[in-house]
């Protein structure tokens, strides 16, 4: 099966600290891939390198066949990204922001596309409110909308549900699984293991920058092992075989 993302000994150092340490992995097209790890394990740095926001210290990566370190804009043109911190521009309204993103991405029918997201995520009443005045949950919805406005083949999402209420979490989870079923790929990073167990098909565990394990969720459920138990064992005791 073709890969949406491949990395080969990808490494990022900040001074003496190896935030990501020789990570080699492959994300299949059509998978909902969860990158799991504790706070500070290197998940966000991985996403930043995969989207060309940060250059690796060594190693290589390919995202939909493009090297993000040499062609970051080409990568960001075809993927959708939801960053860890929701930072839409302070003084634009939600509607104006989606319009700006649509224009930057050269989309047609931006208004209709935006309206679909306002309706789907139920925040149409906030479309004329400045981003700085939105609640964190609404900002997260807005960031979700901007990432999927152009229906990307691949979306990279950092902590997707953290500010959403339970009703909206369920809706977003359903959206993500349906999105993958229609042939797209999702790469999400999270430390909330229930989310990963619930929706991911594949996962990798990152610990202190090192890749401890990659596999499928089905492999675990077939053996009646919960992902959180597996994760705890692995992180506390070191690598083990499934």
């Amino acid at each position: 099966m073709q890969s949406a993302i491949t990395t080969n000994t990808l490494t990022k150092c900040f001074g003496d600290l190896k935030a990501v340490d020789s990570v080699t992995l492959s994300v299949k097209k059509g998978s909902l891939f969860g990158l799991l790890g504790q706070n500070g394990s290197g998940k966000t740095t991985m996403i930043k390198m995969l989207t060309g926001q940060m250059k690796p210290s060594s190693g290589t990566a390919q995202v939909l066949g493009t090297d993000p370190s040499t062609e970051p804009v080409a990568v960001r043109q075809v993927v959708g990204i939801i960053p860890e911190q929701e930072t839409p521009p302070s003084f634009l309204t939600s509607e104006e922001y989606l319009s700006l993103v649509g224009k930057i991405r050269n989309l047609e029918d931006i208004e209709e596309k935006s309206q679909w997201w306002f309706d789907y995520l139920d925040f149409g009443d906030k479309k004329d409110v400045l981003c700085k005045d939105l609640s964190r949950g609404t900002r997260q919805k807005l960031m979700f909308a901007q990432a999927f406005l152009h229906k990307p083949e691949l979306a990279l999402i950092d902590e997707p549900l953290i500010n959403l209420d339970p009703v909206m979490q369920r809706k977003v989870k359903r959206f993500l699984t349906d999105y993958v079923k229609s042939g797209n790929t999702i790469f999400l990073s999270t430390h909330i293991l229930e989310i990963a167990e619930d929706i991911c098909t594949d996962f990798a565990i990152l610990h202190k920058g090192k890749l401890l394990h990659t596999g499928t969720v089905k492999e675990l459920t077939d053996k009646n092992i919960h992902l959180d138990d597996f994760f705890m064992d692995l992180v506390e005791r070191g690598p083990m075989d499934v």
């Binding site: 926001q53 521009p89 930057i104």
Partner: protein, 468 residues
């Protein structure tokens, strides 16, 4: 109380040092000290071309403006930090989570700002003068007097802006009333009591005539401004959910001829809705320039109107170049990094917005030329001013990318900025003094400006996103 104050000092230091490293920031006061020390040796030379009273006036006004700048940044710190870093929290804004009253927090904040920036700016500057004084046969009296009067000037600016912002946080009407009262008092002192510029700036009166009376007036003004700001102070900012029409689409359509019209439209919406456009125009552009024009005009007998216009054109150009910082105050760079944009695309859009904003210095210079009866030299002054402005912009883009207001505090960046701006502008002033037509030589600056912009784009596109 003391624990809070020391924590605020640590916070202020770390805020700066995390941006450009401990050493680079620690060198900043050393750099100011060095500049003042070496600059002192130029005083005899400057006296041959400029009346000493003008220099005294300019230095004192500069420290008032610095106080205004420091106070503005301190009070807008949370907003700016949040935009720049995404999420930031300062102790000064923790009244709701700490068992400390808001006024006590504000008092600590003010004391911290005074002491911190005294040692960062005022003391190093005066230290340089003090060290140079024996070599110049000046004695210690004047350098120590300058230390006193520059400190007072700095505090006057700082407390004035605290009062203005306290009034603003109460209500916009209160803010307008405070401005009108301050302007009326200034006018009354200057014209009513025939006090001239020393009445507007009491520390100058202390400099020219040190006495218990002049000192009391100067200190009294600072205390009055500070006491009033404490009375008005509130951290209860009225915030309501307002609804806005979609202005971006029509504005973007109207600017369609510009390559980056979508981002330029965003810049102007930011400027308008944030209030920063008007605020910056008044406090960072019109106010300093009017003040400088008033001061230069006082030297009318010494320099011809045309020469004054040429100096003013250069000063306007340098100050107008800081409009680039207005445009970079709104968002964290992170806001753009997940979109298919290069840093250089965002910079180019800001430069297009900057070019439109240059209508302000053009109108301002035109007004000055009309007012001073030097309209015939306006084209020369405009060429000079715009060339300097675009050149200084290119230097800022090359050195600071999209973070000019924070990176300028790096000693290395600041020194490079001064060295790249200073010599060309001095040469242009000399040329314009020789013959106003030679002011048009300023256009030559556009060649290095173009090179600096191109190399700046390449530099910042290759840089890792550092978080600010």
């Amino acid at each position: 109380m003391f624990e809070l104050l020391t924590s605020m000092f640590k916070e202020e230091w770390r805020m700066h040092s995390t941006m450009f490293g401990n050493l680079n920031f620690a060198l900043f006061p050393v750099l100011i000290f060095g500049i003042a020390f070496m600059g002192a040796f130029l005083i005899p030379l400057i006296r041959t071309i400029m009346d000493l009273s003008l220099l005294v006036l300019l230095v004192h006004a500069g420290f008032v403006l610095m106080g205004i700048m420091v106070g503005s940044f301190g009070l807008m710190g949370k907003e700016i930090m949040n935009r720049r870093f995404g999420q930031a929290s300062l102790l000064a804004y923790s009244a709701r989570s700490l068992p400390v009253s808001e006024k006590k927090l504000f008092l600590n904040f003010v004391i911290k700002d005074i002491v911190y920036y005294f040692f960062l700016w005022v003391m190093p500057f005066c230290g340089g003068l003090i060290l140079a004084s024996p070599f110049l046969g000046m004695g210690l009296y004047y350098p120590l007097l300058v230390l006193l009067t520059l400190t007072l000037s700095f505090l006057t600016g700082l407390c004035a802006v605290f009062l203005l912002s306290s009034g603003y946080s109460r209500s916009k009407k209160a803010f307008a009333i405070v401005i009108v009262i301050m302007a009326a008092l200034a006018a009354l002192f200057i014209f009513g009591f025939n006090g001239g510029i020393t009445a507007l700036l009491p520390p100058l009166a202390v400099f020219y005539s040190l006495s218990a009376e002049t000192l009391a007036v100067s200190v009294g003004l600072i205390l009055a401004l500070f006491a009033l700001s404490m009375i008005f102070f509130t951290s209860e900012y009225q915030s309501s959910e307002k609804h806005y029409k979609n202005r971006h689409t029509p504005l973007s359509r109207r600017l369609a001829r510009l390559p980056a019209h979508d981002l330029v439209a965003k810049d102007f919406i930011d400027l308008y809705r944030s209030g920063i456009g008007i605020g910056q125009m008044i406090f960072s552009f019109l106010l300093p320039l009017v003040l400088i024009w008033v001061m230069l005009s006082l030297m009318g007998g010494f320099l011809s109107e045309v020469k004054l216009l040429m100096i003013f054109a250069v000063v306007t150009g340098v100050i107008a170049s800081t409009m680039y910082t207005w445009l970079t105050e709104f968002d964290a760079i992170a806001s753009y990094m997940f979109l298919p944009l290069q840093m250089s695309s965002v910079m180019k859009a800001k430069i297009e917005s900057f070019a439109i904003l240059q209508i302000i210095p053009i109108l301002f210079l035109t007004g000055i030329a009309l007012f001073s009866g030097t309209l015939v030299y306006l084209p020369h002054a405009l060429v000079l001013s715009l060339s300097v402005s675009f050149y200084a912009l290119a230097v800022a883009v090359r050195l600071c990318g999209l973070s000019p207001s924070s990176l300028i505090y790096s000693a290395k960046v600041f020194l490079t900025y001064l060295l790249m701006i200073g010599p060309p502008t001095i040469i242009l002033i000399i040329l314009a003094f020789i013959n106003p037509v030679l002011a048009c030589a300023g256009i030559l600056l556009l060649f290095p400006a173009q090179y600096l912009l191109e190399s700046g784009y390449a530099k910042w596109d290759a840089a890792d996103f550092a978080g600010f």
